[in-house]
Amino acid sequence: MSPFLFWIFALLTVIFGAAVIINRNPVASALSLVVSFLGLAALFMSLNAYFIGIIQVLVYAGAVMVLFLFIIMLLDLRAEKGRQINWVASAAGLAVALILLGQILSVISHFGPAHQPFSALPRPTSDDVQNIGATLFRSYNLPFQIVGVLVLVATIGVVLLSKRETR
């Protein structure tokens, strides 16, 4: 991927990611999150991970965001206007976050491989769905089934949690 496209999508992801936590209106936050996830999917595809990119669009930008928007509209949340911001707590939270950022950046700058460019792939990887499927079902068959059980348990849990109690 050309550096120009990389920085375009990286900026898109980061700016709309920041918009998620800056917006006061939950609907605007959710829509910013969609754009951020789409930029992230483009970054995945730039790393030759086409399957992960498509799953990102389908699962996150599709299913998870519909879930978020549905809940926001179901609860009829308004933009939180009247609430005063606790400036001390917010400043402390931001300070901790910035310290974390500085620490991660210093680790990255001292990490040798971080300064090397990506090596070229000798073969095209457009059939990476086949490769991921082979890895998933050969090496990770048991974890795959455990994840299936996890999703089943989550489904039952959600149904039980959102059921109205009838006594």
Binding site: T13, I21, L43, L47, A49, F68, V151, G157
Partner: protein, 106 residues
């Protein structure tokens, strides 16, 4: 030339944005969204490492991509359960603000 460090930089910034969202915002739904941002930042650095470590026959490391697939699945289940808890809470307390939910606070 785009290096591995550039992807790790974007991932770090995205993770810190999500972290700041959990620390600063007081709305449960926005906090769940910020959690999703953090999970996605971790996914981005995992996929970057998968592309960086090309194996002997010239393919990316697909073990990592399977791991990312599992993370996405578990994150979707987590969001579903989290939002169900938010709805159940809203039914009882009529709020999604964590300042109003302090019964377990020490």
């Amino acid at each position: 030339m785009i290096t591995l460090g550039d992807y790790l930089l974007v991932s770090a910034v995205l993770f810190v944005i999500g972290f700041a969202g959990v620390m600063v915002r007081r709305n449960l739904i926005i906090m769940l969204m910020a959690l999703e941002l953090m999970l996605n930042a971790a996914n981005l650095s995992l996929v970057a490492f998968s592309r960086f470590r090309v194996d002997t026959i010239g393919l990316p490391n697909y073990n990592v991509q399977v791991f990312v697939f599992f993370i996405i699945t578990v994150a979707a289940a987590e969001v579903a359960v989290g939002l169900a808890i938010v709805v159940a809470l809203y039914r009882v307390r009529q709020t999604t603000d964590i300042k109003d939910i302090s019964s377990l606070k020490f």
